[in-house]
């Protein structure tokens, strides 16, 4: 299968801070260096990798650096990465909204990009007029739009309002109309940026169904950017992970998702050793908490119902009799309520065999509804009374539970149904 798109050493540089009145000077300087003195562009040498959190030391930043990969024809590729990793920049380059600083992209076939739903909608125009407008902006001809008009209107479900100016539409209706137009394009290559995260539940389902239909059509290549790991897993065959403007992983969608979930752990546990918001006499201190999946890989998120291992790293001060250690681990919701708790004095664990200050809590099935939980712990010696506490932190780490289909033959769990344990059960008639 020939490749549909090839990225060759693509880089994109942006200027940090305000594009100030100095730009004329910088422009003249650049012109002088390049044209008159015949040197290379002085601004291309500087620049640093794109790490949003670290303070900038130079005025320029590489939003993308040396991106180099191929997409096969008919492949559905998911692009994942944290905010600011360069996903949108990559799509912008591909949709020709802005040009790369170096390198080149080659593609076979018409590219349609969907960075936004309903681009070019004018509030004063009617729904019908806007369908034409939006369609033409996305590269359709009037004849193509006319032939698909009924289908588009029907898909959007706005028949009644089609001759009303779109300023009278609810925001959901505009979005539906916009998505309807976009999904009726037929280019060989489609670039989609998280447009699925809009509309009500019914329409989202329709939209995902449509996306799947589009991507399963023969020969259609789709590039899909999303933060929603479930849609990436559902829609894509392969995936790449962007990190600080560089491709840090490339493989199947499944692998890319788990890779992405594991890179996030840096932020999670990095500074536990230095935390000062802890209670206890300090004879035992937890220096690190690591979440691991069933294969022993470090993760930060886990799917509902999957096994999870929570690993604690300790340091001690003076002689400590580990056989007297009692550990309590809690999951706490955003309102501060403890949702579930495991205490070692109930499960009768003897910690005296501890090695290198590491012990783990194995959870065979983390049956929690999808949400982000705070992980709290409390370690004491002898009793669980406050006087015997050695170390306790309420929000020592975060455990994100991701939606998947928990119940047999079920669909994905809804994300907004609270911080509640899941108990397997079946409805019956």
């Amino acid at each position: 299968m020939p490749s549909a798109i090839e990225f060759e050493h693509i880089s994109k540089q942006y200027r940090l801070g305000v594009v100030s009145s100095r730009t004329l000077g910088a422009d003249l300087g650049r012109w002088w260096q390049m044209s008159v003195l015949g040197k290379e562009d002085p601004y291309l040498k500087v620049g640093e990798t794109n790490d949003r959190a670290a303070a900038a030391t130079s005025d320029f930043v590489w939003a993308l650096r040396d991106i180099d990969f191929k997409v096969e024809q008919g492949e559905v590729l998911g692009i994942i990465g944290k905010n600011g990793a360069g996903k949108s920049t990559l799509l912008k380059l591909l949709s020709k909204v802005t040009g790369p600083t170096t390198g080149q992209i080659r593609a076979r076939g018409r590219i349609a990009s969907l960075l936004e739903v309903g681009t070019g909608f004018h509030p004063e125009l009617t729904g019908r007029e806007n369908v034409y407008m939006n369609g033409a902006i996305l590269g359709m001809t009037r004849r193509e739009i006319t032939s698909k008009l009924d289908e588009i209107i029907q898909f959007a479900g706005v028949e009644k309002y089609i001759d009303t100016p779109t300023k009278r539409y609810s925001s959901g209706m505009s979005v539906r109309l916009g998505f309807a137009v976009a999904s009726h394009l037929d280019p060989e290559i489609m670039v989609v940026d998280e447009v699925l995260a809009v509309g009500d539940a019914e329409f989202q389902k329709k939209a995902i169904g449509k996306m799947r239909e589009i991507s399963s059509q023969e020969g259609r290549t789709v590039l899909f950017v999303s933060h929603n790991m479930t849609s990436i897993r559902n829609l894509c065959q392969s995936g790449i992970v962007l990190e600080n403007g560089m491709v840090s992983f490339s493989g199947t969608a499944e692998q890319a998702v788990s890779k992405y979930l594991s890179i996030n752990q840096d932020e999670n546990t990095q500074k536990l050793r230095d935390r000062t918001d802890r209670i206890g006499n300090g004879r035992i201190r937890v220096t690190d908490i690591v979440l691991k999946n069933k294969d022993g890989e470090v993760v930060v998120d886990t799917f509902a119902g999957d096994p999870l291992t929570i690993e604690f790293h300790l340091e001690t001060r003076g002689e400590v009799d580990f056989s007297k250690m009692i550990v309590a681990v809690k999951l706490i919701d955003n309102y501060g309520t403890t949702v579930t708790m495991w205490v070692s004095d109930e499960s009768k664990c003897d910690f005296s065999a501890i090695r290198d200050g590491v012990f783990s809590l194995d959870i065979p099935h983390l049956n929690m509804r999808p949400n982000t939980y705070n992980l709290g712990f409390q370690i004491s010696l002898g009793t669980t009374g406050m006087n015997d506490w050695c170390d306790a932190i309420g929000g020592a780490a975060k455990v994100s539970v991701i939606n998947n289909s928990f119940f047999e033959k079920g669909v994905n769990l809804k994300e907004d149904r609270g911080y509640i344990p899941l108990i397997d059960a079946k409805f019956r008639v």
Partner: protein, 295 residues
């Protein structure tokens, strides 16, 4: 796909910078439907939710002409080559208004459309082209007003009014094209520069209003004949303004006012328009690639 495919089957190649002269005119033609829709949108939306609608196209020049009659005709007493004042000013106002409208609209292309341009690609030149085209509608309505006023003067005051069209009036379509070309050229040059240096937007708006006074709109060119500035004929200086020969020819052709500026000056305007357009398209083409990073 029977289309010829360059570079081993690749249909799209995205590079850091296109060569300066790689303007894809075929692409613009492929997007002609979008051009048409933008024109339609501009016209429809301009006076949506107004009571008078397109009547405003007429009210505007009428008020302007009345103003000029009071200020320049009445107070300043500037003659109008023996043509009725209303007709003389209306001719100038219609033409100038078209030029200024096109210029103003085109000059803000990037800033006004940053929202769309940031999300989707289409040949950016479509927007200024659509603006120039949709302004033709407004111009047409104002021109109709001009014809109506003209007929009124001939019928009502035919015995002592000296205006009459001559063969040069047939140049009219060419004159409009020239005017549009000049406006488009200047407009896209300005729009390309304002993406980075927003000062130009401020500078530009008052340059346009001053420019009108350097063009024979409120006075006939015959008034400056014979005068000189620093030893140069003022008339020559005025004709160096590429809009002057166009307006003068229009007035001479339709009203018979003053005298024909000569083919030489018209040729100069044509040359000017071609150069400005060429330079404009090249700069615009260069800027459209990266303007999203600077706008």
């Amino acid at each position: 796909m029977k289309k010829q495919q360059p570079e081993g089957g690749w249909t799209t190649v995205i590079k850091p910078r296109n060569s300066l002269f790689a303007v894809n005119f075929k692409e613009i033609w492929d997007y002609r439907d979008l051009w048409f829709l933008f024109v339609k949108r501009n016209i429809i939306t301009q006076y949506k939710q107004t009571i008078l609608g397109p009547v405003w196209f007429v009210i505007q020049p009428v008020m302007t002409v009345i103003m000029y009659m009071v200020v320049f005709g009445g107070i300043a007493g500037i003659p109008t080559d023996g043509v009725p004042e209303a007709l003389f000013y209306l001719a100038g106002v219609c033409m100038w208004q078209y030029f200024a409208d096109c210029l103003g609209k085109t000059a803000n292309t990037f800033v006004d459309n940053a929202g769309i341009f940031g999300k989707v690609y289409f040949p950016r030149l479509i927007i200024p082209l659509a603006n120039v085209t949709s302004n033709l509608v407004r111009f047409g309505i104002q021109l109709a007003l001009y014809v109506v006023v003209y007929i009124y003067f001939v019928l009502a005051h035919g015995d002592h009014v000296t205006c009459a069209p001559n063969l040069y009036a047939l140049l009219f379509p060419a004159l409009v094209l020239l005017l549009a070309g000049l406006a488009l050229g200047f407009g896209i040059i300005t729009s390309s520069m304002t993406t980075k240096y927003r000062d130009l937007q401020v500078l530009f708006s008052f340059i346009v209003s001053l420019w009108m006074y350097a063009t024979p709109i409120v006075y006939p060119l015959s008034q400056v004949a014979g005068r000189s500035l620093y030893g140069m004929s003022l008339k020559t200086l005025m004709c160096l303004n590429p809009v002057t020969p166009i307006i003068e020819t229009f007035k001479y052709g339709t009203l018979g006012a003053g005298e024909f500026v000569g083919w030489g000056w018209l040729g100069y305007s044509l040359g000017f328009a071609v150069v400005v357009l060429l330079v404009g398209v090249l700069i615009f083409n260069r800027v459209q690639k990266s303007f999203m990073d600077t706008v």
